[in-house]
Symmetry: C2
Amino acid sequence: MRLFDGGRAPNPRRVRIFLAEKGIAVPLVPVDMGALGHKGEELTARNPLQRLPVLELDDGTVLTESVAICRYFEELHPEPALFGRGALGKALVEMWQRRIELNFYLPVSFAFRHTHPAMKDWEVPQLPEWGEMNRPKAVEFMKILDTHLASHEFAAGEDFSIADITGLVALDFTKPARIAIPEELENVQRWYRALKARPSAGA
Amino acid sequence: MRLFDGGRAPNPRRVRIFLAEKGIAVPLVPVDMGALGHKGEELTARNPLQRLPVLELDDGTVLTESVAICRYFEELHPEPALFGRGALGKALVEMWQRRIELNFYLPVSFAFRHTHPAMKDWEVPQLPEWGEMNRPKAVEFMKILDTHLASHEFAAGEDFSIADITGLVALDFTKPARIAIPEELENVQRWYRALKARPSAGA
């Protein structure tokens, strides 16, 4: 088994943080996304969508999509549970993972990809107006999240989960996307500090 | 337990199709999205994101996000398995569900919401250029899917799954989004006909 990895990009990082939380070591194949390695022949043959990360199993089976790769490892190594426990616990993790991904991570990505000069060869064509429209959407969601985190330690409740991992990479991604995390959102700030302090954050 | 439902909108429909495939009956509370009922007090109190569907359990616990609601029922009623079986099977369903959602359903939604006159009070402001940019993205993904479906009966392999449900609602959604499903994509056309022919498609 080997994991084609994309360095600092948020999706490859989601999987590395997940593996660090699980204590699982997987051989990495670094791909230079700066040199558009993910659009090269080796990767395109494995993932026609030309995205990273890509997990290749020993029999050649390919898994893509960071959350799908994480779920594969969750099934093989159930502890610590990062997709929740029991029907309601699993549903709540899925709910918050999706809420954070669709209403926060995605708007932050759009802001970055459609306004950052470094992205002009990646996102063709850039539509700066679309990028700008997404900044307030990301802030609106942080406000809803702040209210929720006033009574919950982590995104999906009292246990750390993949929803928090998506939150961490999205919060880190606000910096290149030039979206300020409002100081007054004290619960989001507290949560962000706690996530950054975990050893897995360096993965 | 009761399910606040949104009629013809694709996300409420995903859950109804899922329940029909499982043979589960849940009391529905119809919400008139045309009259912006999902932005009213009753719904906002349950889902600050003001989206449907919303599942309310007997103890008042609220679940939102169509896929999270489906996963809750999958855990309670595992057969027929619609999220896959075994580590690899579950990962492949998650992978295709995400691929179809992020690369097809989402572009189709953007095309609809940002270009359709009926959406101008919903998507404020509309950005028609963004909507237009998403039409070719949806078509590009259908081409990738067509190649995949040449050797697989369903999206995630040989068994029907939630990835097919997301595919069906997205394919139906191409019509109001004014995206043609290319005639030459014979495998996508065959798959679409098969999904529409299932009794659950009418749910």
